[in-house]
């Protein structure tokens, strides 16, 4: 297990920040919103609350976990009478990015992993950043996942899900920039597709990026 005290949601939030500055990484349009939506679903799946297949997501135990990061979303899923595919719920939860991300950031600060830094420009808050306190959590995740990508070991289910989420929202491009990882792109792709939620996050992100590119092209041709 990777950092068992952290939820996948917290890990994705942590890894979506720049190592040095604590600023949000530059990710493709909608990537982080889908990544965080997927992380919430994956956390609920690992907790035995939901199950998924290529057709639908079902709630198998609606009892609250006692985790304020996840319980509102479990409640939302449990309140729906009809079954919907994972892509539907990614779409719904991706619109809640701020409500998912901010409590996770707050908890990472409370745990002493991140600190809040407000840069003031002309005496007003101009830029909020979340640098790591010592960076060892992020280093540990990167080292463990990097070893999996560069080696041939099997991942455990949690590691497979995390790799799927990070690939799906394209954080892996930032955390594995070295050439040896580019040479292992097939291995990374194999690991990333082991879990359904990661595959769906990748599909949703690609669709959003394509839609944006298409809208830009259309706008350019009508200028």
């Amino acid at each position: 297990m990777i950092m068992p005290d952290l939820t996948l949601t917290e890990e994705v939030v942590l890894l979506a920040l720049d190592d040095q500055t604590g600023a949000a990484l530059h990710l493709p349009y909608s990537a982080l919103s889908y990544g965080l939506a997927g992380a919430v679903l994956a956390d609920l799946a690992l907790a035995g609350k939901i199950d998924t297949d290529d057709k639908s997501l079902s709630v198998i135990n609606a009892t609250a976990l006692g985790d304020p990061l996840l319980d509102p979303w479990l409640s939302l899923l449990a309140g729906e009478k009809e079954l919907h595919p994972v892509a539907y719920w990614l779409s719904i939860l991706s619109q809640k990015q701020r409500e998912i991300e901010q409590p996770a950031l707050d908890r990472l600060i409370a745990r002493g992993i991140l600190r809040l830094e407000d840069k003031k420009i002309l005496w007003v808050i101009g830029r909020r950043r979340y640098p790591t306190v010592d960076g060892h959590e992020r280093t540990e995740v990167r080292t463990r996942l990097g070893r999996l990508v560069l080696g041939e070991d099997l991942p455990d289910p949690r590691e497979a899900i995390l790799i799927g989420l990070l690939c799906g929202c394209r954080i892996t491009d930032n955390i594995f920039p070295e050439p040896e990882f580019a040479a292992r792109s097939d291995r990374l792709a194999t690991l990333a597709k082991l879990d359904l939620v990661g595959r769906e996050v990748a599909a949703a992100t690609s669709a959003a990026v394509d839609a944006l590119a298409s809208a830009r092209t259309s706008a350019m041709t009508h200028m």
Binding site: A45, G48, I50, D51, T52, D53, D54, S58, I60, D153, L154, P155, D156, P157, A160, T190, L191, K193, L194, D195, L196, V197, R199
Partner: protein
């Protein structure tokens, strides 16, 4: 899901029949934990009767294979039913797990 315990060529065998989903996966997980606790280092699943596996079911398979690999053991998946083979293909499990056409192959190779 029905889970029958057997052996072939002295290799522990779990014969699975039915649906492996979020409700039945914990039952299989408990069964596997009991088996692993006896110190076995080779386990084969007869998957000829598994007509469905959800994400929860797939995680049990991956977790078991990982535990045995970590212990320098082996975990084989034999005689995949067509639906399960398709699920394994889509999820890349065919590439990372030890797959065999039959229980006999899985227990002698």
């Amino acid at each position: 899901m029905e889970i029958r315990e057997s052996s072939a060529n002295e290799v522990p065998l779990l014969i699975l029949t039915g649906r492996l989903d979020g409700r039945t996966a914990p039952i299989l997980e408990d069964k596997i934990s009991s088996l692993l606790a006896t110190g076995i280092n080779h386990l084969v699943f007869d998957c000829s009767g598994v007509d469905y596996a959800s994400s929860a079911g797939l995680r049990v398979f991956l977790s078991t294979a990982k535990k045995l690999a970590t212990a320098k053991g082996r975990c084989g998946f034999a005689a995949l039913a067509p639906n399960l083979r398709e699920i394994f293909e889509v999820s890349g499990f065919l590439q990372v797990l030890e797959i065999h056409p039959s229980v006999a192959d899985a227990t002698i190779s």
